[in-house]
Assembly symmetry: C2
Homo-oligomer: 438 residues x 2
């Protein structure tokens, strides 16, 4: 019986714009370390594979009337938060997002190697190219790099970072007190990379990560995003709206991985999944309706604008969505919004309200109906598990750990105890061989 | 009676090349998180102001025969380690080194703000320009930026980072659940910086740090280093070899700060101080002699080469030091080495052996003689305290906390309990006003 994997998609703690206003929710759940500690310790009690932290490198590009309602405006840098959470947990994986467009590969390799050693092999790198064009303005540039160029740099960036990690043999650290030899220079080598985008000598000034490489995670669903995932990723965060979409994506990415010479089982497909739990399906639906009602229309229309990459305020709210041109921003959001509107026949207003809350895959029901739906996905070749999006904190997270996890465990679909100690072991991924050393 | 401040200079845990070989020392003290946790918790028990972590962005540029003996080759990125240490401590300050030459100011501002919030106001930023020219090769550049240019960029970088922190009023986060307003956009502003070196829009996507700004630390002792310290620093790590040197440096930097319109008491001068403790002075000297004997001559001559910025292997080991030309590398090391050789009439070999262990200010004696020397420094306007360098770990650190700290406390020179909760409060520094908001 196929087991599922669970990540917790934790930025900005809840994906839902109204989450911080829900009765009983912590309005500062995304920006208070003791609360984040309590949340990750609950996830670890629930035996989650990983805490997955998304990221932004600028305010979301939405009008200020919507932005002022968003709890995304302040949050922690993932590579600063996750080491702190590593120190207060023992087993759960820690996946941090880091951009290949606005970072240097030497820093990225070093920080993830540090996190992996500090956490005893629990680090994962969600490699992104950054969709928000406003990020460019915070990093000395006048315009955001074009989509294709970003992915070209990302692919080379991946080669450099993993090459820096491989620059150390696993046995390079000798520490022979008697002879005074600390490391064997024959077991460490410079990378001497000179590519079209990047030039990095190395070696890295930190030993090879505990896991060989931290787990590589990808989240793009454009053509270029899928291809880089197939070539490099070991876990994929994706956002299919329906099981059919999910099956298509799953088959496509696994086939691409196979065509690239990889074992398709070594790339885990984990869609984002927004979960609202009730004692009855109607109660769960009522909770979601209440939550959605906390989203202001200004925020809703702003979310739609972000998804589409254009200012949607000029559209007629009660008409169908007009045709939207492609832009250099993330293509996946635009496609998803257009397909959702078409599939459900939504007006601009309806689409905006749905997206202003959360417009992607949702499971709203009882622990039984949710476990049923999850089984349908993993048995139907739609996914290998999910990145769970909690509707508010801590209630939505506690409900999942206390009600859905035990139901999945009863069905033999989810671990009762961690069997390994590293994120690779949790996900059933092999340790990567070293390209330079036996 | 003047109180002193104590930082722990912790990279690469011990400054002494032979530290990892000393009997009873942990050879992996610099690269094992549980051991680092034990060390910082001991420092916190000793009421230290701060854990101070230096940094390198490449292997030290020494010949491989010396490098292979150095425990500096693997260590944690400071901004990854310190959040983890923040999570296992409550009061001690956390100072991380970050280079202005090889970083983006938006990242630096965001990471230190994150660390400050996560630690409840205990972060400090040791602003460096990076002396090792090999770093350039790890960051896509062919040559290291010249000394003057590095400092020019550093000064502007400081303005940008502090400007990003000031972009949020302290009361900007409203989180009004009723109205749905999360923050007040009139209390947050973009920086819109366009200078000769840097262009950054902002605002930062994290609220103003708990301390307003993390404590600003500087370590350069060149002319440019002293001037930027006088203008920006709140604590200065310096390396005078003697009390007379220290008094000169102290008077110079405090006078520069005053000339710049600052209160000289708001810039704390904390020299690095290598401390070896014995029950008698002779026992302490014997310990140091044993420790120095663990430094291989290859390492010694390499250290001398680094300090001078030239390859010293060609020099006659038994002759006095020949004249050394200035290079674009760190100027302070060259000056210190030349002055030490002259002052004590050392041959190249003698100088190398001293520097290969640690050639700077040392206090080798009993808790009584060490406390006497420290009092002479702070009463003699030589310093406001020290950054203590431990000879090996954990023994050298434990001895300091268990023997010297109580002696300083008995004399009324050092706190028995933390009085405040932030690093600023420990150091007696004011909270910086916000340049943009009341």
């Amino acid at each position: 019986m196929k087991q599922l994997h669970l990540g917790a998609f934790m930025r900005p703690v809840s994906i839902h714009t109204g989450a911080w206003r829900y009765p009983g929710a912590w309005p500062d759940a995304n920006f208070d370390f003791p609360k984040l500690k309590r949340l990750i310790q609950t996830l670890e009690r629930g035996k989650f594979d990983a805490f997955f932290m998304a990221d932004h490198l600028a305010f979301l590009n939405m009008p200020v009337d919507a932005l002022k309602r968003s709890h995304t405006v302040t949050s922690f840098d993932p590579l600063t938060l996750l080491p702190a959470l590593a120190a207060v947990t023992e087993r759960i994986g820690l996946i941090a997002t880091a951009s290949t467009t606005y970072n240097e590969p030497y820093h990225v390799a070093r920080k993830f190697a540090s996190l992996d050693h500090i956490s005893g092999g629990r680090a994962g790198w969600n490699l992104v190219t950054t969709a928000n064009p406003d990020a460019a303005l915070n990093f000395g540039q006048d315009a955001h790099m074009a989509h294709g160029e970003r992915y070209k740099r990302a692919r080379e960036f991946f080669d450099v970072v993993t090459g820096l990690w491989d620059g150390w043999a696993d046995d390079a650290l000798v520490r022979d007190v008697e002879s005074g030899i600390f490391f064997d220079p024959d077991r460490v080598r410079a990378l001497d990379h000179e590519g079209p985008e990047l030039k990095v000598r190395g070696p890295l000034n930190i030993a090879r990560p505990v896991q060989g490489w931290p787990v590589i995670v990808q989240a793009g669903s454009s053509e270029a995003g899928r291809q880089i995932a197939a070539e490099t990723a070991e876990a994929v965060f994706c956002a299919p709206g329906t099981l059919e979409d999910g099956q298509r994506f799953y088959a496509d990415v696994k086939a691409r991985a196979k065509a690239y010479g990889r074992d398709p089982d070594h790339i885990k497909i984990l869609p984002g999944c927004f979960v609202v739990i009730g004692e009855t399906v109607d109660e769960a639906k009522a909770k979601r309706a209440h939550l959605d009602s906390l989203v202001h229309y200004d925020s809703a229309i702003a979310s739609l604008s972000i998804a589409l990459g254009v200012d949607a305020r000029a559209f007629d709210p009660d008409a169908p969505l007009p045709p939207i041109p492609e832009t250099e921003q993330s293509k996946s959001g635009r496609e998803r919004a257009m397909r959702l509107a078409e599939r459900e026949g939504l007006t601009v207003r309806q689409l905006a309200q749905r997206l202003g809350g959360y417009g992607g895959l949702s499971m709203v029901g009882t622990p039984t109906t949710i476990a049923d739906a999850m089984e349908a996905w993993i048995d139907g070749a739609g996914s290998d598990g999910f990145n769970i999006m909690f509707p508010w904190l801590p209630g939505g997270l506690d409900d999942f750990v206390d009600q859905v996890v035990p139901e999945l465990q009863r069905r033999g679909r989810f671990r009762r105890e961690y069997e390994g100690t590293t994120l690779r072991e949790h996900l059933g991924l092999p340790r990567p061989p070293n390209r330079f050393f036996d």
